[in-house]
């Protein structure tokens, strides 16, 4: 795609999330350029999901600001952010169990009926495993198919920022590869992709940059080539 | 909680003087309390009661001044007792227009007895005058009168030998069923079906089909207004072709209004009176006044309650100024009301006549087909 350069990136500026007085995240500053994949690594509870919730709007930001391109979105309601360029595939996928593949994509797609049909077709072309399950309800899909659907749902509105939270969880290795290829493909099409993962190796293979979170704070933010094989990085990761 | 205290105090202190004092004469006004069910499943009958009482109390006889207040007794004995207690304490009535709902009367009677205040009602429940509380005065024939008329008319005039009885699972329905069964037995007739019907039941076809299957040759209904209309209509729709003698609910103009005249063909009902059917100018005047005041048609409950309150006012006009005096007057005198002549049988049953009204298929106003006077032998 050619529009990559004109897309919006994501910028976080000293973002903090607190719940019941405890700081779950931050302060974190981070930016994701259009056309790049940033891998977010770190142990469970390090704040990866909280970071995504803050960006999506499902967790309130106590301090700091979030920018989508030139617009500050920190105070925008969740659905407003979704309609203006934030796509999210959450941890655990959270599909709508009673909706079919097609219906799931339809509720998330913008535009009139023809426009939506065009987008759905494009999405099913991009994720062929879903095409054959087009009329199957979400809860009957296999884990890999469900993950593909969650990603497809996140990107069908053509968001400029895509957040993928543990997309490879519980998937067979070959399916994991497909998921990561899909993440890379999104960035190559111009999106700013934030990828939270536990499968470090695969995440590194597709990421342009890698950041490590530990106890809610950003402890490392390096280009991938610098990180791979670097003992400090390994130390940060194992110690996270 | 602290904020509630004023509310609580206010609740108990709302003055009895809220009602309009209708001073018609120079005499010191007496108070009457109207305690009837104007909400809940007896709201229709209770509203007729209220209207009848109000019509009487608004135009007291010359020289009598009366104040009154209306309170709802809803559907439980508990609410009725509270309302009575309030009236006794705050209004000091010489008489109370009391609910048509027998269960409430059973709860109120002992309290009124202790206070010596007469309860003037149109409840048909037989038991309310059988408990030795000599303050209950009933201006509507008891089930022991109207059910006799209903059964006799069905058996003796219409020749039913195998009637089916459909009755409501309410005090009205069960008491009526008991007296119907008793009279039918005396007449040597055994019902082929007795079906209890909850007021929440929508479809009466199952009961009608059971009646048909049992070989019934007539229907005796003891249902409230809506279900009575439904039974008549569905029986008509099924083409059962059975004669119907219904309880007093059928005579209520609101019930007939729910049916087309042709559906009413041959349907009869027991009642104490049928104000809309009477040509008597005094009853016609009552009917017109009622229509004008309430924009609806009066029924026998309204007329009975009207007569009852008129008799109370007559007592007051005759100098009875205390509850005890009014009670004695009601217990001892004969009174010519609009529906009939009233006299106590010694236990407070004032009405002893019943009529059977029937619809001829041309309209919604029934004709009086047969009068059963002094059914209980009083007078």
């Amino acid at each position: 795609m050619t529009e990559a350069a004109s897309r919006d990136g994501l910028t976080l500026e000293d973002v903090e999330v607190r719940v019941a007085g405890a700081t779950l995240l931050g302060p974190v500053s981070l930016s994701v350029e259009p056309g790049t994949v940033v891998a977010v690594l770190g142990a469970n509870g390090a704040g990866k999901s909280t970071l995504m919730h803050a960006i999506v709007g499902t967790a309130a930001v106590a301090r700091g600001r979030i920018w989508l391109g030139p617009a500050e979105i920190s105070d925008w309601p969740v659905e407003h952010r979704a309609r203006h360029g934030i796509g999210w595939s959450p941890e655990g996928r959270r599909l709508f169990p009673g909706l079919t593949v097609e219906e799931t994509l339809d509720v998330a797609a913008p535009g009139n009926k023809g426009e939506r049909a065009r987008r759905i077709d494009a999405m099913l072309e991009r994720f062929p495993v879903l095409a054959e399950k087009r009329h199957e309800t979400a809860w009957r899909l296999s884990g890999g198919q469900q993950q593909m659907l969650a990603i497809a749902r996140a990107v069908i509105a053509d968001p400029s920022v895509v957040l993928l939270d543990e997309p490879s969880l519980g998937l067979a290795p070959v399916v994991r590869d497909q998921v990561f290829a899909a993440a890379r493909g999104l960035a190559d099409a111009g999106a700013a992709v934030l990828l939270a993962e536990q499968d470090t190796a695969r995440a590194l293979a597709v990421a342009d940059r890698v950041v490590v979170l530990a106890r809610g704070r950003l402890v490392l933010d390096w280009p991938t080539q610098v990180a791979v094989g670097n003992p400090d990085f390994e130390q940060a990761l194992m110690g996270a | 909680m602290r904020r509630l205290i004023p509310v609580l105090l206010l609740s108990l202190a709302v003055p009895a003087a809220a009602a309009p004092a209708l001073a018609a004469g120079a005499a010191e006004p007496v108070a009457v309390s109207v305690l009837v069910p104007i909400t809940g499943f007896l709201a229709l009958e209770g509203t007729a009661q209220r209207n009848g009482a109000v019509l009487a109390l608004d135009k007291p006889p010359a020289g009598v001044s009366v104040t009154y207040q209306v309170a709802d007794t809803a559907t439980s004995p508990e609410v009725a007792v509270t309302a009575l207690q309030r009236a006794l304490d705050r209004e000091q009535p010489v008489a109370v227009a009391a609910p048509i709902f027998g269960t409430q009367m059973l709860a109120m009677a002992p309290i009124a007895d202790r206070a010596g205040v007469p309860l003037v009602t149109v409840s048909g429940t037989a038991k309310i005058t059988e408990l030795g509380h000599d303050v209950v005065f009933r201006f509507f024939p008891t089930d022991a009168v109207v059910k006799v008329a209903q059964a006799r008319y069905a058996v003796q005039e219409l020749g039913m030998k195998k009637p089916a009885v459909l009755y409501q699972t309410t005090a009205y329905g069960q008491s009526g069923r008991e007296h119907l069964a008793r009279t039918l037995k005396q007449l040597g007739v055994e019902p082929v079906l007795e079906e209890a019907i909850d007021p929440g039941i929508k479809d009466l076809v199952p009961a009608l089909e059971r009646a048909r299957a049992a070989g019934a040759d007539g229907l005796l209904l003891q249902l409230h207004s809506g279900p009575t209309a439904l039974a008549v209509r569905q029986a008509h729709g099924l083409g059962l072709g059975l004669p119907v003698v219904a309880g007093s609910a059928m005579h209520q103009p609101t019930t007939a209004a729910l049916l087309e005249p042709d559906q009413l063909t041959g349907v009869c009902a027991e009642t104490a009176s049928s104000p809309v059917s009477e040509a008597d100018p005094r009853v016609a005047a009552f009917t017109n006044a009622y229509r004008e005041r309430f924009h609806s048609e009066p029924d026998a409950f309204a007329l009975g309650q009207y007569d009852g309150m008129r008799m109370v006012l007559a007592a007051v006009a005759d100098g009875a100024r205390s509850p005890q005096a009014v009670r004695d007057w009601l217990a001892g005198r004969r009174y010519q009301g609009l529906a009939m002549d009233y006299v106590s049988d010694g236990t407070g049953n004032m009405a002893h006549d019943a009529v059977i009204v029937c619809y001829d298929g041309t309209g919604r106003v029934p004709t009086i087909m047969k009068r059963y006077d002094a059914v209980d032998g009083v007078r």
Partner: protein, 296 residues
């Protein structure tokens, strides 16, 4: 005998279809906000009364008065549904579910007694859907009225089904009911879908009320029993399941007609509740299980 059985079966279907409309509206609100709308039975009654009132405004002797007032009933009741959402749900979004329960009880009281005072306690008959007449099918006389009732209820049920299954709005509504937060995160305006659910539920209640009002009359005290039926149907059918609730409604209608005709109303009612208890003893999840709210 066969005629009688056929007649009863038709009655069961007609009653079941209307009860299904009642239950459908009830279950829509449960699906949308997870709360019981205790005023639902009163809304059915109100719908019947609105139908009675609207029919009075029509000139007499129109051929299909009931069908003519149906849109008006749907519109008025949808507005009432929005009002219920606005006063009994919106202020309590963050409150415990029992608060919504009590708030809707209060709304039910207001509707019930408002109607009693406003138009009187007497039973009313709603306008007939179409002309009265009997269609003879193999010796069984089927009232046009009843057939029209079944057809109308079925049309509305399938319209709701179509709306929920085949339109984007319906899909969004289902998505919002299943996971409101996720629904917002894909751009669905969840508050709007909730308001629409209430409006739709009340409109269905109103339609049911209109259908009942001609066939079975309407009185201001009808709400309580209808509410209980909707509740029972919904739980039998599996909490929150649209088609389960409709099936539960048919089960109740079957008890009220077929079982009642072969035994008695009392036996039928006792058996219904004993059956409910037996079902719960064997299947604590309801007869048809429960899916709404579960994640994939």
């Amino acid at each position: 005998m066969i005629e009688a059985a056929a007649q009863l079966a038709v009655n069961a279907v007609a009653l079941g279809a209307v009860y299904a409309l009642v239950a459908l509206g009830f279950v829509l609100v449960i699906g949308a906000v997870g709360a019981v709308n205790f005023a639902h039975g009163e809304l059915v009654m109100l719908g019947g009364m609105v139908g009675v009132g609207a029919a009075m405004l029509l000139p007499a002797d129109l051929p299909v008065p009931g069908l003519l007032v149906l849109p008006a009933v749907l519109a008025v009741m949808a507005a009432v549904g929005l009002a219920v959402a606005g006063i009994a749900y919106a202020p309590l979004r963050r409150a415990p579910p029992t608060a919504v329960f009590i708030a809707t009880i209060a709304v039910g009281l207001i509707v019930h007694h408002g109607v009693t005072v406003g138009i009187g306690p007497e039973p009313r008959r709603g306008p007939p859907l179409i002309d009265s007449g009997i269609l003879d099918v193999a010796g069984v006389g089927l009232a046009h009225q009843q057939l029209a009732t079944i057809a109308t209820a079925a049309a509305l049920i399938f319209a709701v089904h179509f709306l929920l299954q085949q339109t984007r709005f319906g899909r969004r509504l289902r998505a919002a009911a299943q996971d409101p937060e996720m629904a917002r995160a894909v751009g669905i305006p969840v508050r709007l879908t909730i308001a629409v659910s209430f409006a739709l539920a009340a409109a269905l209640a109103g339609a049911a009320g209109l259908l009942l009002s001609n066939q079975y009359l309407v009185t201001p005290t009808d709400g309580g029993a209808l509410m209980l039926k909707a509740y029972v149907a919904t739980v039998i059918g599996g909490w929150g399941r649209i088609w389960g609730a409709a099936l539960g409604a048919f089960a109740i209608a079957v008890f009220e007609t077929l079982v009642a005709a072969s035994a008695s109303y009392l036996v039928a009612e006792a058996l219904l509740y004993l059956g409910v208890l037996a079902v719960l003893a064997v299947r604590p999840q309801g007869l048809f299980g429960e899916t709404t709210g579960r994640r994939a």
